[in-house]
Every structure is written in structure tokens, then in C-alpha cells.
Assembly symmetry: C2
Homo-oligomer: 333 residues x 2
DNA sequence: CTGTTAGCGCATTCAG
DNA sequence: CTGAATGCGCTAACAG
């Protein structure tokens, strides 16, 4: 059945040329007689030869792999970033080797060690919080490193993201301008989501500057989910029914909040304002589209991949790309 | 800055031992004096040595990579499968190299060619529809191959999934038992989603056997989404307001249908039955949980990875694992 | 336009 | 318990 796999040398022999000639044909480099090219291609087809990229990479020190580290795949935001990365990588023919950290910096350290062992051409890591060991390894690797999502951090090499603190501030300004005064906050477990916390801080800061503050806040002990948003809003309103707008840590939580309102007979915006973060499809297709902030997740992934491939040797000094965000008016706040 | 990367030989020299000894220490094989082990480990730490897995794989012909091909990351179902795969791979220390086909069999052919070039220990492909070339390559590779999602297909090696036709049949039986008689179907673009079509066929078959049939059906021309479900149900009801239950191609579409009902003032179940497929979190956290069928997507991924690692050489004849499905009663049908 | 020589970094023999 | 020789499959550098 599975005989010894076919190698360059097998093809070369059969085609009556040297190995390097086959190699050149396959890579389309160097001057080549059209005749030999065709002959070699025919043999390649015929034998069903599959090149061994491991050997190629080892010999040329030019890798076709890109290491990617993401915190999770449960939150739809990260698959969207991955989609962007894939789109950005596509033209170059490079493949992503992915790992998941489960929001654990120690796991990230191990993961990034493993990924670096494949000698990737570049690393794309989601998040900017690392253990000292991870940071050192990434820096010392000498390859290009993109850190994604948050642009308020010092880059190892390239940072692509938005200002989460700025988003929190914009949320406060927007809602104050719309006339809301009695603010509440409903969040999920922050211990691993530094960006949610930054948005919270931005929100509070701007509220304070406007002489306001949160009249109530509640954090779910679970990760963000529609269910958590629904349950947490319910609890919060049970103790503090007098708030007029609730800012949620993200859209998943906010959609849950909208569902609670439907159940409880509260009209969004009219009886209670609800505001999210991310601009997910689900929020925008609610009977009343969710008021929220759109983060450009796909763009973040694509830009990072493109930028990195554009210059494959790491430049001096870092670069930060701010992909910005937009307020989606919606109909819930 | 980035000097020549440190190799085994550098470590060996510094530790005053041979390369192979360092190699053994790192892999934890063979008899080793505790003293040398500690000394080598110290040098490894000190130099920040990162093993080159490419070279290791080339030398040993034992790969630490697993190729994974998925149709898309936009549909939350596939990230969940990926999560399962990662979980199943975790213990073995293998890394997934991922590619996306965008539901295009030709793209899959190219992708699988590229993935095989990394000499993976195994391939996990989502979907069982392949071009002849792809099938031949997977078969000839000699490595283990898992095809995921659908269990009604002849396996190349291992198939892990559920019966989509069976799910369609179960849907019909369940809804007939609940007293529904005037059935409608709302779907998305099937041309690339053979499994949705299989469910549809199972549904129609069992309806026919019960002397019933679809009184109306409508397919959106776009891919599945909440928005498409909402718009398509709206159109369908405009022409056929007399249906008493609508079966959707999946939960995304069905949740959109529920949103339409909210807007139109139709009470789910009471005025119109709605039934989905997948059992996504979003459907279950609606004010009235969606009636649907739970597919075990995470399990499919995890089982596939585990099964494949359990026996890394491809056995004779194929195997099919049916992960089943369950009806979620819900409150919408 | 094509071939020869050498080596990428590691692991598998087989000796000691 | 440790080491020396050899080769994995490919490509860079230099001939011719």
C-alpha cells in the first residue's frame, strides 16, 4: 500500500535530469529550457509527487509557516481574526500553525515555545500580555512578531488593534450626549480579559469627568455569554431598578440583556438603554439592532498578516497600527 | 541582534557532551546519568535553546503536525469542531496546521496538497465531499485521515459524524407527533452545504411517509445567517401565511426567524412553530429557547483527534463513528 | 541552461 | 551509560 514516499530524486531519475533541475522547475526559478520543464512536470504529475516542505525549509531557511496564538475559539471574535489572518496570508502560500492558550499566560508561554520550534517565518499573537519568558523569546526569535487587538501597548515589533480605553470613553460620551445619566455596567469575568477592563476604565473615567459615575455594576463570574448577560442584568435590576442605561462588557452579554428585557417586558431604549461592544452580526439582526461599537476584527487579522509579509525581516523599532472603531447607533440606546 | 540560532551542537559543545546526548536529554529517552541530564538542562536553559522540529521530523520521519482543513470560520460550528480537535490533540503535543477551503472543492484540493507537503502525522478534513484528486491524495498519503461531520458516507479511513438525513427524519417525526401538519421550510444556499440538503431530504421523506409534504419552501441565495433567516421567513409568510410550522436549515436561520416573529407580533409555538438545527448557545438563550436538534460538534472534533492519535498507522478498512444527535424540546415548536 | 558538491539540524543505527 | 558515523529530502553556491 503505502510504499516509500516519492522524493525529488525519484522524479529526477525518471525524468533523466538532476535533482536540482526538478527543484527549479517546481519552484519556477532560474533559466529553464521549456522542453525539460514540460518533461519534468509530466513526470511529477504521473508519479503524484508531493514535495517535502520540511526538507525544503530546512535547506533554505525560508519558512512557509506562520505561528498563530489565540486565546480561545469559543468567542466568535477570534475566529474572525483568524479569518482575517488567513486572508492576509493567502497570496503568499504560507500556512498558519495555530495554538490556543485558553487565556492562560503560562499556557501561552508553552505554546509559543512549541510554535517557534517549527521555525515559522513570523508569529501572530492575539493579545499583548505575556510572561517575561514569552516576551524574551519573541524578541530574540528575530522573526517578525505581530501582537493583535489592543493598540495601547508598547510593541515588540508590530502592534495592530484599537484603543479599548478610547472605546470606553467614546461609549460614555455618546450615551451622555443621548441624555442618559443613571449608568450601570454589566460585565463578565475580567481576570483574563484585560481589554474589557480597559473599556470599563475608559467608561468610568469619562463619566467621572462629566460629573457622573456608575450607579450600579455587576460582574458575572463566568466567561462572556448571552446567558451570562441575561442572568446578570436580571440580578442587577432586581437590586437597582432605577438605572436608565446599561453598558455591557461586549455584545454577547448585551444580547443576553436584550433577551432579559423582552422577557421582563422592558422596551429597549424607551425603558432601558442597552449598549454593547464589538458589533457582532447577531446584535445587528435583533428586532431592534443593538447600539454598540464596531471593532474591526477581520481587518486587524488581515492587516497584521499583510504588513508582516510585506517586510519579512524585522525592522528596527516597533510600529503601531490603530484600526479604530465606529459607534453603531442602533436602536437600544 | 539575531545571531545564528543556537543548535543542538552549540549546546553539546558548551555542555561538554555529544549532540546525541543532548538530544536524548531533551526527548527523555534512553538511559542517562542524572548528572549529565542536569548539566545539559542547565545549559539548555542558559542558552535559551529552541529545538528545531523541522530537522527532528525530517530525521525521524515522525511528524508532530496534523493537517486540518475546514470549509469556513464564519459559521460558529467550525470553530467548535476546531476546539474539539485541539482538545484531542493537546496531550500529544502535536500542532494543527489549518487551512480554509471556503466551501470550494477545488480550493480544498490545493489546500490539501499544501498541507500534505508538511508531512503531517494525520489529516483531519471537515466534510466528505472531495475531488477525485483529493481523495486519491488522501488515500495514497498512507497517513491517517479523518473526515468529519457526516456519517452517511464511505470512509477513506475514519469518519466521525452524525446522520444528517436521520436528523431531518427525526425532525419530521417530532413535529408530526406534536400535532403540526402544515410544514414549511426556510433554507440558505445549499450548493455548498450538502449536509443541509441531506436534512431537507430526510425531512421531506418522512413527511411523505406520513402523507404530508411541504406546503411552502424558500431558499435564501446567501449563506446562512440570522439576517437571511429573518428576511426569508418574512418573504415566505407574505405569500403563504397559512403554515403552522417552519423548519429552518439551521439555528442561525431559525433565530432570525424568531426575530421576525417578534417584530411581526407572532408568538412562537402558539402562532407559528419554529425548528432549527445545531443547538447553538444563542438559540437556547432566547426568551423562549429554540426547539432544535443538538449536533455534537465539539465531540466530533475531539473524538476524531483522539481516535487518530490512538493508532497512528492507518488500519485496513475504514471505520465510522456515529456521534448521534438529540432533540432539544425548546419552546418554539 | 544544467549539474556537482556540500550542508541545513537532528535522530537512527550501531559500537563501545 | 555515551559517542561516531550516516542520512532524512531538499536547496545554495558555485561550476561548467
Amino acid at each position: 500500500m503505502h510504499a516509500r514516499p516519492i522524493t525529488l530524486s525519484d522524479v529526477a531519475q525518471r525524468a533523466g535530469v538532476s535533482e536540482i533541475t526538478v527543484s527549479r522547475v517546481l519552484r519556477g526559478v532560474g533559466p529553464l529550457a521549456e522542453g525539460t520543464r514540460l518533461r519534468v512536470m509530466a513526470v511529477v504529475e504521473e508519479m503524484g509527487y508531493v514535495p517535502n516542505r520540511l526538507a525544503g525549509t530546512l535547506a533554505s531557511a525560508v519558512s512557509g509557516l506562520v505561528g498563530v496564538s489565540v486565546p480561545s475559539l469559543s468567542n466568535i471574535v477570534f475566529p474572525e481574526v483568524l479569518r482575517g489572518i488567513h486572508a492576509g496570508l493567502e497570496a503568499s502560500g504560507r500556512q498558519a500553525v495555530i495554538g490556543i492558550t485558553d487565556y492562560d499566560l503560562q499556557a501561552e508561554e508553552t505554546l509559543i515555545g512549541s510554535l517557534l520550534a517549527w521555525k515559522p517565518a513570523a508569529m501572530i499573537v492575539v493579545g499583548s500580555d505575556h510572561t517575561p519568558v514569552t516576551s524574551r523569546r519573541l524578541r530574540q526569535s528575530g522573526i517578525r512578531v505581530a501582537e493583535l487587538m489592543d493598540c495601547d501597548v508598547p510593541p515588540i515589533d508590530l502592534v495592530v488593534g484599537m484603543s479599548h480605553k478610547g472605546a470606553g470613553q467614546a461609549t460614555a460620551r455618546h450615551l451622555i450626549a443621548r441624555g442618559y445619566r443613571r449608568f450601570a455596567y454589566v460585565g463578565h469575568d475580567w481576570t483574563t480579559d484585560r481589554r474589557a477592563r480597559l473599556r470599563y476604565e475608559g467608561l468610568c473615567e469619562t463619566l467621572r469627568e462629566g460629573g457622573l459615575g456608575l450607579v450600579a455594576e455587576m460582574l458575572s463570574s463566568s466567561v462572556s455569554s448571552t446567558e451570562a448577560g441575561r442572568a446578570t442584568l436580571k440580578s442587577l435590576l432586581a437590586t437597582r431598578p432605577d438605572v436608565d442605561v446599561v453598558v455591557f462588557s461586549n455584545d454577547d452579554m448585551a444580547v443576553g440583556g436584550v433577551f432579559h428585557c423582552m422577557t421582563a417586558g422592558l422596551r429597549p431604549r424607551t425603558d432601558l438603554g442597552l449598549f454593547g461592544f464589538n458589533g457582532l452580526e447577531i446584535g445587528q439582526s435583533l428586532p431592534q439592532p443593538l447600539s454598540t461599537i464596531r471593532s474591526n476584527r477581520y481587518l486587524i487579522g488581515r492587516l497584521a498578516a499583510e504588513k508582516i509579509l510585506q517586510r519579512i525581516d524585522r525592522p528596527e523599532g516597533g510600529e503601531v497600527i490603530d484600526t479604530g472603531f465606529e459607534i453603531c447607533e442602533g436602536e437600544t440606546a
